[in-house]
C-alpha cells in the first residue's frame, strides 16, 4: 500500500477506487486465470457504485490492473461515446486520475462491452471484457455443480447439442453472439456477448484478454498468443457474420456494422460499430455514401435497404 505514488491518489478515493487488499485479491485471481486459460476463477466480487449489468466485473478487473501511467479506453458495443463507456471512463478519470483516450493504438488498457476493436491489438495491451454470464453451459445445464464437473472432466458434448438445435431449427448455426470457444484445446469458454464476427480476433492475439463477471463473481482470461477455436460441426463449419454492405460513413468493408434506423419509414444506415476505427478512416479521407462531399444529395439520403435479411457470411 505504501508503494502507491501519493500524487496519483485523489482526496476522496484510493487509487482506482478499490482498496489495495481487494485489488490484490483480484490480481491473485487473475494470475490463476492466466495460468489456466479459459478456466473460470471465483473471486469475491465487490459492490461497485454502479448497478450490476453496467460492467461491475470489468471495472473491478480494470481497477486491479491500472497503474498511474496507464492510458485507458472504454468502449460499449464498439462506441466510445455511449452512456456506459462515458460513465466508466469518467469513473476512472475521477478515481485514478489516469489519461484516457479513444485511440485503440494509444491505449494501454481497453475495457470493452460486447466488441473487440477493429484495429489489431499489440503486445503490452490489456483488453478487459465485461461479462454478464460466464458459464457457457448455463442455459443447457442449470446445475452449477454439474457444469463445474463437466468443465473438470472436459465433458463438452452438451455445447454441441446447442449448435445441433440451431441447425435443426434454423438450418444453420444461428448463434451470432456469445459464440462458445475452446481455449488451448481444454476449456470451453463464453467469450461474453461479442458478435461471432469478433471470435477469430481472440485467437493468437498479442494482447492479454481478461474477463470479469461481477454479479456471477468469476474471472477468466486468454493469455497472449493462445489457441482459441470456435466450436462447430464438420459439415457446418464456423462462419463469421456481418451485414453484407459497407459503412455509410467511411466505406469500410471489413468492419462490423451497426444497423441504424433513421426515420419512421424504416430507412436504415449501416455504420461501423467501432467509432474510433470509423473516425480514423474518415480523417484519412475515406468517405461513404452518407457523407460524400462529391455528391451533396447523398448527405440526407443514406443508403437504404429494403431487402430484408442483410446478414451474410464473410
Amino acid at each position: 500500500m505504501t508503494s502507491i505514488n501519493p500524487n496519483s491518489m485523489t482526496d476522496d478515493y484510493n487509487f482506482a477506487y478499490l482498496d489495495e487488499q481487494t485489488k490484490r485479491m483480484i490480481r491473485r485471481g487473475l494470475l490463476k486465470a492466466i495460468a489456466i486459460p479459459g478456466y473460470q476463477v471465483p473471486f469475491a466480487s465487490r459492490e461497485m457504485p454502479m448497478p450490476y449489468g453496467w460492467g461491475t466485473g470489468g471495472v473491478q478487473v480494470t481497477s486491479a490492473c491500472l497503474t498511474p501511467d496507464d492510458t485507458i479506453k472504454v468502449i460499449d458495443q464498439g462506441a466510445d461515446d455511449t452512456t456506459n463507456a462515458v460513465s466508466i471512463r469518467q469513473f476512472f478519470e475521477k478515481t485514478a486520475l489516469v489519461n484516457t483516450t479513444t485511440d485503440t493504438e494509444a491505449a494501454s488498457l481497453i475495457q470493452t462491452r460486447h466488441r473487440i476493436p477493429e484495429h489489431d491489438l499489440s503486445e503490452g495491451q490489456i483488453l478487459v471484457y465485461q461479462v454478464p454470464i460466464p458459464e457457457p453451459l448455463r442455459f443447457l445445464e442449470p446445475r452449477e455443480r454439474e457444469t463445474r464437473k463437466m468443465h473438470a472432466l472436459s465433458e463438452y458434448g452438451l455445447m454441441h447439442v446447442k449448435l445441433y438445435e440451431d441447425i435443426a431449427h434454423h438450418g444453420h448455426i444461428a448463434t451470432s453472439y456469445a459464440y462458445p470457444v475452446k481455449v488451448e484445446e481444454r476449456y470451453v469458454m463464453d467469450p461474453s456477448p461479442i458478435p461471432k464476427f469478433d471470435n477469430p480476433k481472440m485467437a493468437n492475439c498479442p494482447a492479454l484478454q481478461l474477463f470479469g463477471a461481477g454479479r456471477e463473481q468469476r474471472l477468466y482470461a486468454i493469455p497472449p498468443y493462445c489457441n482459441v477455436v470456435s466450436l462447430d460441426f464438420e459439415d457446418y463449419p464456423f462462419t463469421r457474420l456481418k451485414a453484407d454492405t459497407i459503412c455509410a460513413l467511411c466505406a469500410a468493408n471489413d468492419s462490423y456494422l451497426d444497423e441504424v434506423i433513421i426515420d419512421d419509414s424504416g430507412t436504415r444506415m449501416y455504420v461501423c460499430s467501432d467509432t474510433h476505427y470509423c473516425e480514423d478512416r474518415q480523417s484519412k479521407g475515406h468517405t461513404g455514401t452518407a457523407n460524400s462531399l462529391d455528391d451533396p444529395d447523398n448527405v440526407d439520403r443514406p443508403i437504404s435497404n429494403k431487402g430484408g435479411d442483410n446478414a451474410a457470411s464473410v
Binding site: 458434448g157 445441433y164 438445435e165 441447425i167 435443426a168 464438420e234 459439415d235
Partner: protein, 256 residues
C-alpha cells in the same frame, strides 16, 4: 461363458435404516434380470448401487468392459464412471423427464450421447437420430419437436432411444413402465422385448409389476426389507414360489 456384470456383497444402509444388505447378482451377456419387491424393499437403492450412482457401504461391482477391461466400477475414477455410464451403460428412468432434456428437441436428445463421445458431423448425428426414432416407433417427422409435446409413452420410448444410441452393453431400468396406461405399457414392453432380443442387450430391470418380469426377464430377484429372499429363473419363481413373501406377491396378481 463369462459373466458381463457381477455384484458381490452389496450393502447400503442409511443410518439405522437398511437399504439393501449383502446382495449378490450375476448377469451374463444377453440376459435380463428382474428385481421385484414392494415399495421400500430396497430395489432402487440396489439399482443405484449397481450403477455407481451411490456408493455402497460394502461390496464390489465388477464389469467386463470392452474399453476398460475387467473393472471394479466402484474403484474407477469419477471421469471413467461417467464415461462408462454414457457409452457402455444406459440408465432408463421411471420418469422420462429425469432422463430427457425437456428443452431440447427429440433429435438433440438422441444425438447428445453421440456428441458426448466426440461425434462432430451434423449429418451423421441426424441420420442416426432418425434411424433410432424409427426403431422405437416414433414418427420421424417429429424429430425437431420438444419432448414436452410428446405423450408419456412417446417420452419413454424417446428416452430408450437416447440411451441405446451409443450401443451400450448393459442397461439399468427403473420401473420403465410405471405411470403408463395399460395399452401403452404393453406396447412399450413389446418394443423392449424386441430390442433386447435384436441387440442382445443385458438388462437389470427394477419393477413392482410381475407381468413385466414374466414378459422380459430370464431371471428374477425378489427383495423384501433390503434382503434378497428368493432368486431363480423367472418362470420358475413365478410358477412355483418358495418363500412366503414371494407366494404372497404372486398370489396378489389380479386376474381379470
Amino acid at each position: 461363458m463369462q459373466p458381463l456384470f457381477e455384484a458381490r456383497g452389496i450393502s447400503k444402509s442409511y443410518g439405522s435404516i437398511i437399504g439393501c444388505s449383502d446382495v449378490n447378482l450375476t448377469l451374463y451377456p444377453g440376459e435380463v434380470i428382474g428385481i421385484v419387491g414392494e415399495s421400500g424393499s430396497g430395489k432402487s437403492t440396489l439399482l443405484n448401487c449397481l450403477s455407481a450412482q451411490i456408493i455402497p457401504d460394502n461390496g464390489e461391482v465388477l464389469f467386463r468392459s470392452p474399453s476398460h477391461g475387467d473393472v471394479n466400477i466402484l474403484q474407477l475414477t469419477e471421469a471413467n464412471q461417467r464415461y462408462l455410464a454414457r457409452t457402455e451403460w444406459a440408465y432408463v428412468h421411471q420418469n422420462p423427464r429425469d432422463g430427457l432434456r425437456m428443452s431440447v428437441s427429440a433429435g438433440g436428445n438422441i444425438g447428445e450421447r453421440l456428441m458426448n463421445i466426440g461425434n462432430r458431423h451434423y449429418g451423421n448425428i441426424r441420420d442416426t437420430a432418425e434411424d433410432w426414432m424409427e426403431r422405437v416407433e416414433l414418427n420421424v417427422g417429429r424429430i425437431d419437436h420438444r419432448p414436452s409435446t410428446f405423450s408419456g409413452g412417446m417420452q419413454q420410448r424417446l428416452q430408450i432411444a437416447r440411451n441405446l444410441v451409443t450401443g451400450p452393453r448393459l442397461i439399468f431400468m427403473d420401473e420403465p413402465t410405471g405411470g403408463l396406461d395399460v395399452s401403452v405399457q404393453a406396447r412399450l414392453l413389446d418394443l423392449l422385448r424386441s430390442l433386447v432380443q435384436k441387440l442382445s442387450l443385458s438388462v437389470i430391470i427394477v419393477t413392482h409389476d410381475l407381468a413385466v418380469v414374466r414378459m422380459l426377464a430370464d431371471k428374477m430377484v425378489v427383495m423384501q426389507r433390503g434382503n434378497v429372499v428368493e432368486t431363480g429363473l423367472a418362470d420358475q419363481v413365478l410358477d412355483d414360489p418358495q418363500h412366503p413373501y414371494t407366494q404372497l406377491l404372486v398370489s396378489s396378481i389380479l386376474r381379470v
